[in-house]
Symmetry: C2
Subunit: 280 residues, 2 copies
């Protein structure tokens, strides 16, 4: 499947949807996986299913010295904390990477902490509104775009390892500047998530349940079920870019409402036509 | 499957997603179906596939005299026009019904035109972002809620026929006041549709294509592909209720943006938590 040499041992910190799925795919490829999760149920399940060989609940206590690659599969804030811990304790890993949905703050923290040469941020577009070890599965990254962001001065070996690991699990890695990544993701990922959540909150406040919706409404609000804490991290971390994108939707709703109230059929139709042309 | 007696002949005016699917299900139950659609390709296909026995392109010219039930499966504006035509030419049908997504204007028009005793408005929650005869299929209404709205003075026989036809194709009919229907649908259907369309338009304007989105963003914007003309009808026809619902989403986006710009993490988290609690 891949011409890249795989690392012998990988530590996955965080056995949720993304980390658990990575651990499953890497284990299936013969990689020895060390798992770390604060949730004892997740580590117990990962050990029982033979996905991880060693497990621990604490980044600081994790036996990471054998790991050639350390993958932080955690929310943004926890990723920043784990980088501090790794910098403090030291590590021999040739690659430290992560999967958080924002990349500016994480890449900057790695550089500031002296880990920049071995750090390559990663972000697979394989999120889902489900979460946790129970939601993890093999094949989650098949054909998924995976953004990679590194600081200037990164080791060529670390970059090659990052590409190799993602290609091995079926992803399509693509190098991108961290600021460009966060600006782009504000529109194509964070904006749809927040819009779905606020739409759901408005429908809820009006007294309707999720079961009242038809199939189209259920699609539109599906992301409202996403993990609240993880998305709080992302929204706050990417506040400026996300705020700008949200402002654009807010302005379009205001303009549409104005068209409705003045009975401007042409403006209403144009709004639907633009959306339809885009979706084709 | 059903204890209701089915009509021998049904005329379906409009062979799109809803009308075509109704015609398919009724034909499969042994009902003789007369089809009418201005699109010659749709009527030709419906005849060729043996779904309809007779077809025409014009409501005024349609051979409707044999039909015990006439189903208007048209957008709102065309439904209002078809009611005018039917009132003008006369019909012996025991039930005239429709499938439009708004019910106040249609029910009022039927009454005004002297068709109120035989008119029962219908609205199956089985819409989809695809449309036309090519999108129609058998089984579309299986377990779908179907709202029925009638004017005071409706014949008991017309009401029973409406219930019977929808139950026969697998739907779950539910009688509701027309104004209550339109208020409810503004929130559970029209609001998600318009939000998805305006979100898509904003993402498009920012320079991103539908293919740039991940699976969650694609779900959230799926409805943007819906038929523009049909939704223009619905939005304009239900402008007051829809405007109110859109205003609620607009206010939530404004409040979320304000929370982001003042770094109010608690307010951001509360918004995501409310949405998640609703979706569970």
């Amino acid at each position: 499947v891949t011409g890249d040499a795989l690392p012998r041992t990988v530590a996955v910190l965080g056995l949720g949807l993304i980390g658990g799925s990575l651990a499953r795919d890497l284990a299936a490829l013969g990689v020895r996986v060390i798992g770390c999760d604060r949730d004892a149920g997740s580590t117990a399940a990962a050990l029982r299913e033979g996905v991880v060989q060693h497990a621990t609940h604490d980044v600081a206590a994790a036996q990471l010295d054998d790991a050639e690659v350390i993958i932080l599969a955690l929310p943004v804030t926890a990723t920043l904390e784990a980088l501090e811990t790794l910098a403090g304790r030291g590590t021999r890993a040739a690659l430290i990477t992560d999967v958080a949905s924002t990349k500016v703050s994480v890449t900057a923290a790695a550089t500031r902490l002296g880990l920049g040469s071995r750090f390559v941020g990663g972000h697979p577009l394989a999120g889902h509104h489900t979460s946790g070890w129970a939601a993890s599965r093999t094949g989650l990254f098949a054909a998924a775009r995976v953004y990679l962001c590194s600081a200037p001065g990164v080791d060529a070996g670390a970059l090659a390892l990052a590409h190799g690991v993602w290609r091995a699990v079926g992803g399509a890695p693509e190098l991108i500047d961290a600021a460009e990544h966060d600006g782009r993701l504000a529109w194509i990922s964070h904006l749809p998530q927040v819009t779905a959540s606020l739409l759901a909150a408005a429908i809820s406040e009006a007294g309707f349940s999720a079961g009242d919706l038809g199939p189209g409404g259920r699609d539109t609000t599906r992301l409202a079920g996403s993990a609240a804490e993880m998305w709080t991290d992302i929204a706050v971390d990417n506040a400026a870019e996300l705020g700008c994108a949200l402002g654009a939707v807010e302005a379009r709703i205001a303009a549409f409402r104005a068209a409705l109230s003045r009975g401007d059929r042409a403006a209403v139709r144009t709004a639907f036509e633009r959306a339809r042309a885009w979706s084709d």
